[in-house]
Symmetry: C2
């Protein structure tokens, strides 16, 4: 227990701690990252486990030692990709100085960086739900957890902002974020992030200054 970072996963010995579980060159990590690339790029159903092990450079038995089924692998990919994305997204967001209003608008600048990436393939959760719909509970659960993370953050910003209905404000931003992602993916145009940002600015102006019609 010399290094705090080492305390991550217990080995089968039961008495020692190991780096194995977070070693990026381990077979498990190679399979996970290969699966992420292929699943997200070509679709979950369209990618076979043979393609995954070929990309990972591992044996099939190794894959099934770490993941009991393809379905579990899909769930693990979503969990890992979601965590990576949130780390990046909220990390970028934490670099933004200023009040809640500034942070909420910066969301769309950061979003645009993502949408403009030449390897952008859409939101993995939106894509997964689109592909499986009601047929896969694990996928839905992963998507729900991801959405809950975002909504919690959005609601906190709305409260800090003094929004009259923080939940509704968070829902509004969810619509704008999802809309920007899907419109950008469909039209292959990251500029939809700016369109969403303008809508967000108008909305924020309204809830902080009150409705315009009052002035009449």
């Amino acid at each position: 227990m010399a290094d705090a970072a080492a305390v991550v996963a217990e080995t089968t010995h039961g008495t020692h701690w190991s780096f194995a579980a977070i070693d990026p060159s381990s077979a498990r990590e190679r399979i996970l990252s290969a699966a992420t690339r292929l699943f997200c790029h070509h679709g979950f159903a369209a990618t076979g486990v043979d393609a995954v092990i070929a990309e990972a450079g591992t044996a099939k038995a190794t894959l099934y030692k770490h993941f009991t089924s393809k379905e579990e692998l899909i769930a693990a990919v979503l969990e890992a990709e979601g965590a990576t994305w949130r780390e990046w997204f909220f990390g970028r967001l934490s670099q933004v100085n200023g009040p809640a209003q500034t942070r909420l608008l910066a969301v769309f600048d950061i979003l645009e960086e993502w949408l403009a990436d030449p390897h952008f393939y859409g939101c993995p959760f939106i894509n997964a739900v689109a592909e499986f719909d009601t047929d896969n509970d694990a996928v839905r659960a992963a998507a729900d957890r991801h959405k809950a993370h975002l909504m919690t953050w959005l609601k906190a910003q709305a409260l800090e902002l003094g929004a009259p209905d923080a939940t509704e404000t968070a829902r509004s931003f969810a619509v704008l974020i999802d809309g920007a992602i899907v419109a950008a993916q469909n039209a292959r145009d990251p500029g939809f992030a700016r369109t969403a940002k303008a809508l967000a600015a108008t909305y924020l102006a309204q809830i902080t200054q009150g409705p315009v019609s009052r002035a009449t």
Copy 2:
């Protein structure tokens, strides 16, 4: 040519007209509607042609007489489903009396009817693009055509409204519509249509009355 409605499709005879091509009980229509149900509900890749013919109650040879491949069947399903949806959507919209502003807001009421349908499975084009991404040109082309239809209508409303930038207004509504669809699908909550409607109302108030900050 006694009945005008009969003049729709030419048979292989070349000299007569027939109801066959629009007969909903024809094998082609049964295959198309069965494929639509299964593809949209369970995904395109996850649904095999055997499942389609079982649902349609036809022989496999019949399917391949009408569609040369599964890919062509997918494209035909998207084309048909898109046309059906637009017919319904713009049909409902044509029942709305009032100026462009009223029609643009009514979009979200009509959208909510769709999202609240217990059989709602998301937008078939958003789902298809999510599943195939760059891997299927026919799918992308069908999605592009569908989007173009919507954008054309939105832009016409924006022009009638006297919006300063009709294209940008149409893009804003595209974000709100896509966002409402995806958020509703993810959260299984058609109420996101109302959230999007409120955003649209705020946006319309801003572009028709000018920015609030001017008043200061």
